[in-house]
């Protein structure tokens, strides 16, 4: 499971947020592994074949945040860790990573990702769908 494109581990507990963010980063040319909690993130980071270079983690995801940051330091993992405390920050951080991504043609504007996520969350909060 190795890849020539830079590898990002995205740690986010909400699929409605995680999937569009992951797709956005893939459009930027990254290989993206998705973890739904801190335990999955640790398993991924412990697997050397994945060669994870960047960890983009939501602070509020179970087992993520400072605990994950500490774990990465304790295990001397070389990955750069980027924390985001809100959806807005997460999208903003993803846009920052994307800017340095390998894709020559950059994808859609990152605010479209944010709009998409906000709409999905609003729909869920309103309970418009079953």
């Amino acid at each position: 499971m190795t890849s020539s494109s830079p590898i990002v581990l995205l740690v986010e507990g909400d699929i409605v947020v995680r999937h569009p963010l992951a797709e956005y980063l893939r459009e930027c040319g990254f290989t993206v592994f998705e973890a739904s909690n801190g335990d999955e993130a640790k398993s991924a980071l412990t697997e050397p074949r994945l060669q994870i270079e960047i960890v983009l983690a939501d602070m509020s995801t179970e087992g993520s945040g400072f605990a994950l940051q500490r774990w990465i330091k304790e295990h001397n993992h070389p990955a750069e860790i980027i924390m985001a405390g809100s959806i807005e920050k997460a999208v903003d951080r993803a846009a920052g990573i994307c800017k340095d991504g390998p894709a020559l043609a950059k994808p859609y504007e990152h605010h479209l990702v944010l709009d998409h996520i906000r709409r999905a969350l609003a729909r869920r909060n309103r309970g418009q769908v079953a």
């Binding site: 999937h19 909690n37 697997e47 079953a130």
Partner: protein, 136 residues
């Protein structure tokens, strides 16, 4: 979105598969194998998460789900729920130890051949996508 229907990806878009698997490295492997075949993949770590995705208007052509997973539903229960609410959506269940009598359709036994399974799923999803397009 009306119940009983999952929105299909636009005509020119690749087929979309929702992979539901709690074993991280199996999920990574099958998702990457499908992406290599040009499939757009949504990854869920449990049936609950996958259900949340679908009921939020998630667009997929096929659901590929493991059976034994943590959470409120097994894969078979999740598949039965999809059958009731989204009868047009293709569902495949995989398991190493299948014990649910509520799902009478064939299941894919684990361990499965990664590349063959990915190719089969991609083909089924593309067929499902084309069928939905022709229904519109």
């Amino acid at each position: 979105m009306p119940q009983g229907r999952v929105e299909t990806a636009p005509q020119s878009a690749p087929a979309r598969i929702l992979v539901v698997e709690d074993e991280l490295f199996i999920r990574f492997a099958i998702a990457e194998a499908l992406r290599e075949l040009g499939v757009s993949v949504v990854e869920a770590a449990s049936a609950d998460e996958a259900w949340l995705y679908l009921t939020n208007g998630g667009m997929v052509d096929l659901v590929f789900t493991d059976h034994r997973m943590p959470g409120s539903m097994t894969g078979a229960q999740f598949a039965s729920r999809i059958r009731q609410q989204y009868p047009m959506l293709t569902v495949m269940v995989t398991s190493g130890h299948f014990d649910d009598e509520g799902w009478s359709e064939p299941i894919l036994p684990k361990p499965y051949d990664l590349l063959k399974t990915a190719a089969d799923l991609a083909e089924r999803a593309a067929l499902s996508s084309r069928q939905k397009e022709s229904d519109i």
